[in-house]
């Protein structure tokens, strides 16, 4: 009866003196918590089937030499069984320390880290700037807010194509730059400008979410804090530094974490902005892994899956360090 309303029951453990055996404990647990387990069962089953099993399968693939030539496949009515074999950790060895490790993995890794840091920093700073501007008492700020949300509202795969038209060799952006007598870079051909363009487009796409979240955070800061700070003679900068930023901590730590994860895994923008098979140096790890698995012949399933495992490990390590850092600074929000 009391199971569903938690809090009290969860902590009431000390009154049972002798610890029963494992079977008994499982039975007790099921009896006591079966409502909860019944309720989470659908998600556990779905995640087990749709995430757990493929994950295990994918991990096994990384230990083989699977590619599209030796995997199980059906051509017409003929079914060909898989012939790939177990090779242990060779894929990881090859990716991380093999002769082409720098060209294939480490250069993309460095670019991915730079890409993530640059994009999230730009998202956050621009988002915060716009949120502060929208937070002012201002005529027409609802209109501004609606216009500024636009990049978030339009599906990304639509806007990326729009950017591609604008960034094309003699597209709108270069025509504009030309009319101002500025240099017209080859946005979609030159590696440096490809990377520049990718960061620019991703920033454009990501700022609205940051802006709205931080605006929500700003609105939840108690205005009496500002009045008190003003009474104490704090300057605008001091008020921002000592009232606004601490007030935004909870929201900031959440959106920065989300931003890092989303940017690190950002597939659509790079995949669609450069089309297939171009811009090898502007690929981040996610799109590069996809390229290995599906963008070339023969498809290298094993290496692609190994990249996937490496990516997930990087993110897991990052997330746990981030949480530890938040906890130490007592800013835990999630």
């Amino acid at each position: 009866m009391t199971v569903a309303i938690d809090r009290a029951t969860g902590k009431r453990r000390g009154d049972r003196a002798p610890r029963p055996g494992l079977g008994q404990r499982v039975r007790n647990g099921l009896q006591k918590y079966w409502y909860a387990y019944a309720m989470i069962a659908p998600v556990v089953v779905v995640l087990g089937v749709l995430v757990g099993y493929p994950l295990a399968r994918g991990f096994y693939l990384t230990l083989t030499d699977a590619n599209s030539l030796n995997s199980a496949r059906t051509i017409g009515v003929n079914h060909i069984d898989a012939t790939y074999k177990f090779v242990g950790l060779d894929n990881y060895q090859d990716i991380l320390f093999g002769p082409t490790a720098y060209d294939r993995f480490w250069s993309h890794f460095l670019w991915t880290v730079f890409w993530t840091a640059a994009c999230v920093a730009l998202h956050y700073c621009l988002g915060l700037g716009l949120a502060l501007m929208l937070h002012q008492k201002l005529r027409g700020r609802t209109v501004y807010r609606l216009l500024l949300v636009l990049p978030w509202a339009v599906p990304t795969f639509v806007t990326v194509f729009s950017w591609r038209i604008m960034l094309a060799d003699s597209g709108a952006l270069n025509q504009l730059l030309g009319s101002l007598h500025l240099p017209q870079p080859e946005w979609l051909e030159d590696t440096f400008w490809q990377r520049f363009a990718a960061i620019m487009v991703n920033t454009w796409c990501g700022v609205p979410f940051m802006m709205l979240s931080l605006l929500g955070g700003l609105q939840s800061i108690d205005s009496t804090l500002y009045e008190a700070a003003e009474m104490d003679g704090a300057s605008a900068w001091q008020r921002f530094r000592h009232v606004t930023l601490p007030g935004l901590r909870a929201v900031s730590s959440t959106v920065v974490l989300l931003g890092v994860i989303w940017t690190f895994n950002q597939f659509v923008i790079i995949f669609l902005l450069f089309g297939k098979n171009s811009a090898p140096d502007a690929q981040i790890l996610v799109t590069w892994a996809y390229q290995l698995g599906f963008g070339q012949q023969p498809r290298d399933f094993a290496q692609s899956a190994a990249y996937g495992v490496l990516l997930l490990s990087i993110l897991t390590v990052f997330t746990s360090f981030y949480f530890r850092w938040l906890k130490r600074n007592d800013q835990l929000a999630v």
Partner: protein, 301 residues
Amino acid sequence: MSTTTPDTTETAPVPAAAPVRRTRRRGERGPLGTALLHGGLVLASLIALAPVAWLCYLSLGPDKDDYLHPGGIAGKLTFSNYDFVLRHTGFFDWFRSTMIVALGTTVIGVLVAATTGYAVSRMRFPGYKQLMWVLLLTQAFPIAILIVPMYEIFSELGLIDTYWALIAVNCSTAVPYSAWLLKGYFDTIPFEIDEAGRVDGLTPFGTFFRLILPLARPGLAVAAFYTFITAVGEVAFATTFLLDDSKYTFAVGLQTFVSEHDAQWNYMAATAVLIAIPVTVFFYLVQRNLVTGLTAGGTKG
């Protein structure tokens, strides 16, 4: 409507107050500050608007190379691209596929996630922490880690090039996300309601279905909408798993206008506008709720 009403309420007190005290209070802006503020916001709005506006403009030019001479479009505006897209491409097939995949994901995802969201909001049970951690961690899954094994599994099951495959992969991200989001929403519903239900003799299931679920309708709507939008925008799996062009979703269909050899930018632009307008309008209607829903799961955990 909604864009104009708040303005009047905000600006109304200003004329009344202005003549009374001419000196500015500390912290109030001067005219220069206001001008800078408007300038900054106008510039930002223009940047936000430009790519989309440009797409709309180009969609009205009849030739595929019109983007190179945008000045020429103004003289020959036409809806011929829209006409072509609607009559001679797979637009309606793509529309159907997108709807099947997105609605399927939404219905399954939210249905499955709802009870879990409630359970993790109200109950503490052994395994609670692990479950929350798994729900959070699946948010961090790069597509690269699931796409290869999923491809293998689906091709063994003969599910490649079916809508089921896409609904399944979309659910793998939508379910944990919806559960997380709904937990945040259920947390805002007072626990006293549950207690009242229990006192009246309802089981936890009864409490959930008869009391909480009706109250949580706005939260369910946000979760459903967000799942829908995510499923519509999904590119990687749709590109890989759909082979037959009558089954393409919009995300895949739009790519077909731009191949290595030929880029039909005019048709692409028209299709993009046709996709973007309904989604954008819909989005604007609910965007305020979206942010609240999105950060609620994070900040109120």
